[in-house]
């Protein structure tokens, strides 16, 4: 039998003040970070604005893009590198122009125009890297490189197939960007004459617009309210559950305090590491709340079981023994979830990075708090209760 924790007998309570101070320091660090940065860094979901996600075929010259944006009157827009360096991805962000929704589309159009001027994308040619299947099929139909004009219906299906082949190859195998027409030559299902025609009539811009997000101020407000409501109700639901589970208020309150502790520290870490606050993060935080409460419940259940079994033992000793008994499962169960979240953090891609980070931090903090914070609170409060009872 392989065991990581065999008959451990660590005195967790002895060091409880150290841990409580350590926790306060972590919370304080997060609070300072939030204060210095002027609150959490809201993502586009909550703030409104425009984000354009771009991928380049080679490392983009940010200064050039910036001056191009300035020429379009977007001097205040942000350019941010994104993802792995070898992917050459950036996000261009523009704040919401004006208060009303009318201006919703203007920033995006200005960004695209700026990019077209900066990289000299000819207006009269098709940009093969940013064209959709429908438009490409239409273009091919008009150019008719194979010479199928005699039978229009055959031409339509044939060119549609070719267009699909090209865009699928571009999007799934080339990550959205073709770097030369030569790549099409080896592509099955695309006749050489089509490639030759495209070479003359089409253009391969050095970037592809991968994702556009435009959120108006009204929706931003709405999403913010919804997220707050979801969080508040989930916390309330958890409180009700804890209340039902532990009829004694000491346990219930300690579990709630531990949960708040976890959320506070995690939010602080998000701010410290400059992660954006968006809907995904809220989802991760709520999951974390569920997870953290559960961990605490495991320990508390054992304490209550032991209270019934071992009436003679002092309460502090008993709590310590309970933590030791459950240590193996607490660490193992958290550890396995942690393993999956870690996979998500390193391999799950850029979109889920913040989400995974929240859970990575949250699971560590949640496990720590159920061992080192929640139980000492119970001991502290029940001792104080006993002292009062004696004095009375």
């Amino acid at each position: 039998m392989i065991e990581f924790f065999r008959n451990t007998n660590l005195d967790f309570l002895r060091w409880r003040w150290h841990f409580i101070i350590f926790s306060w320091l972590l919370i304080l660090a997060g609070a300072v970070s939030l204060w210095v940065k002027g609150g959490p860094r809201y993502g586009i979901d909550f703030r409104g604005g425009t984000l354009v996600y771009l991928k380049f075929s080679q490392a983009p010259d940010l200064d050039r893009i910036r001056s191009g944006l300035r020429a379009e009157g977007l001097g205040s827009s942000t350019i941010q590198r994104y993802g792995r360096p070898e992917n050459n991805e950036i996000i261009i962000g523009a704040e919401q122009v004006g208060r009303e929704e009318e201006a919703l589309d203007t920033s995006r159009q200005a960004i695209v125009t700026a990019l077209h001027t900066t990289f000299q994308v000819p207006a009269e040619k098709i940009d093969l890297n940013n064209v959709g299947t429908d438009s490409l099929a239409d273009h091919l139909l008009r150019l008719d490189p194979i010479g199928l004009a005699a039978s229009p219906s055959e031409a339509a299906t044939r060119y549609r197939e070719i267009a699909e082949r090209i865009t699928e190859f571009r999007d799934t195998e080339r990550g959205g960007l073709l770097t030369g027409f030569g790549e099409l030559r080896t592509l099955e299902g695309v006749p050489p004459v089509v490639t030759t025609t495209l070479e003359q009539q089409a253009f391969l811009s050095p970037f592809v617009v991968r994702n556009v997000e435009v959120v108006g101020p009204r929706v931003g407000r709405q999403l913010r309210q919804q997220a707050l409501l979801a969080t508040a109700l989930a916390l309330a639901g958890m409180l009700v559950y804890i209340g039902m589970r532990f009829r004694q208020w000491v346990y219930g309150s300690a579990a709630v305090v531990a949960t708040f502790h976890d959320v506070l520290i995690t939010v602080g870490f998000l701010s410290l590491f400059n992660y954006e606050f968006n809907l995904n993060i809220v989802a991760a935080l709520l999951t974390l709340v569920g997870f953290s409460v559960n961990d605490t419940i495991v320990t508390f259940d054992r304490i209550r079981e032991n209270v019934r079994l071992l009436r003679r033992e002092g309460f502090a000793n008993l709590v310590n023994r309970s933590i030791n008994q459950t240590l193996s499962r607490t660490v193992l169960t958290s550890g396995l979830t942690f393993l999956t979240v870690l996979a998500l953090f390193f391999l799950g891609g850029e979109v889920l990075h913040g989400f995974a980070f929240t859970l990575v931090v949250g699971i560590i903090v949640g496990t720590y708090s159920s061992i080192f914070i929640a139980s000492p609170i119970v001991v502290g409060w029940s001792q104080r209760g006993r002292v009062k009872a004696k004095a009375a």
Binding site: E101, V212, E213, N280, F291, D301, L332, L336, V351
Partner: protein, 554 residues
Amino acid sequence: MNPNLRWKAIIIFGLILICAVGLLCFRKGVDGGSKFAVPTSLEDLRTNLENRISLGLDLRGGMHLILQVQVNEAINTETDQVVQRLSTLLREQGIEFQSVRKSDPTHVQIVGVPATQLATARTWLEDTYRPAYVIGSLPGDESGFVLEMTPSLAAQIRQEALRTSIDTVRQRVDALGVSEPTIAEHGRGEWEILVQLPGVDDPNRVKNILQSTAMLEIKLVKNGPFANEGDALAQSGGILPPDSMLMRESLQARRDRSGEPQWYVVSRTSVVTGRDLRSARAEINPEIPGAYQVSFSLSRDGAARFGPFTERSVGQALAVVLDDRIQSVATIQSRIDDAGRITGQFDLQTASDLALVLRSGALPASIKYLEERTVGPSLGADSIRAGLIATVAGFLAVVAFMLFYYRLSGVNAIISLLLNVLILMAALAYVGATLTLPGIAGVLLTIGMAVDANVLVFERIREELRLGKSVVSAVENGFDRAFTTIFDTNATTIIAAIFLFMFGTGPVKGFAVTLTIGLLANLFTAVYVSRAIFQYLLGRQARLSAARPATLSI
């Protein structure tokens, strides 16, 4: 095998069968419905799986839009019509008045009615406009009336405008040929429409088509063209007759000629409108090489009005007006019964798009975009890849650990884990839920949490064994005692997930769905299935060698 265990086996294998069939043995029919199709090759299997699990916009690319219908415009239109009709009707009734005007979107004022006619006017107004309007006196002025739209009529008009808009948007989306679109009312009473269009890769075109109000009117040209608004007004003697209005040419109409858009004086009423259209289509413009035009034909009603009208007005000019801008002006050569055309600088696509929006009918009010998210297909493909790699890696890490730490019992945990994922995917297929990128994260998180349940049980069993219990009773106690804790794990997380589902949007909802289903399945697999496997193994050991006590590799 003891009968109790036999029943368990039947339930478990039955469920596996249902899940496997639901996940793998259906395919989309030509009509869009699902039909039963047992896969015969690996290729088939893949197609069926792709057909059964619908991917969210963030994974397959497409557009997510939130539109807001400017419903108050519909109220404005209603009171505008009241103002227009009221002047004529009052004159017909022989009631004198100075003017009829709108003071705000829901109030129409009638000013300057002579004292002698006040009583008749009031009776007539009440007969005609109640109960839709409340008729009151003009504040501080005895010689007039105020018609106030009742809140219930206003609410009805708004609701109607939203419903018509949703129908119109749906027709346009269908005409575009987008497969599996979502078009639905959104939010809480802010007159919003959610539109999700998977696979759309020309966002600008789609947005223009959806937003186009497509109000087509044909009006009589009274005077013009003029170079600017001032000229037009001056030529008409500084004041326009009540049945006339000024209107500008659209920029697009101007592009095939040179110069600035011109102004015209046109009739306020329209001879025919878009409502009278029977069909519209794009065709080659015979006069301008390479250009296209939109030809339309009128319904029988429209033609019955249009024919006599054009006969009477030969030699006069007609204006084709689209969204309050003159698109083209032509002189009536002879009686026209039911056909017309709209010319301008159209290419094939713009002409087809215009024909499309005309066919689908006008929007009752204009539309604003509140939110737009476009995911390119390449990003979706990358996200799927990353999500799958992470899931497989996480799964393998868990498997490796379980085998290392719990030996043969680890196999038991892995079986229940696999079954959990199978149930989860099959449930997604049966409910028709969409898998999003956060949804994939939910699957991965489920794997982590599902194995937690096994760990809780196994640790309990080890504890019981350490206390010197027999293997059989250790297993029984282990499961019994761990159950409350497992229930807690799942309950607390599901509470959070349910609120996320209620208030979350789009992708995040997908996360809540997979997490909830996964955790519910976990209660079944980690407790029921895993226990049955242990019972079966221990039972077999006992049968094979009744003398030796059972052992367990844990």
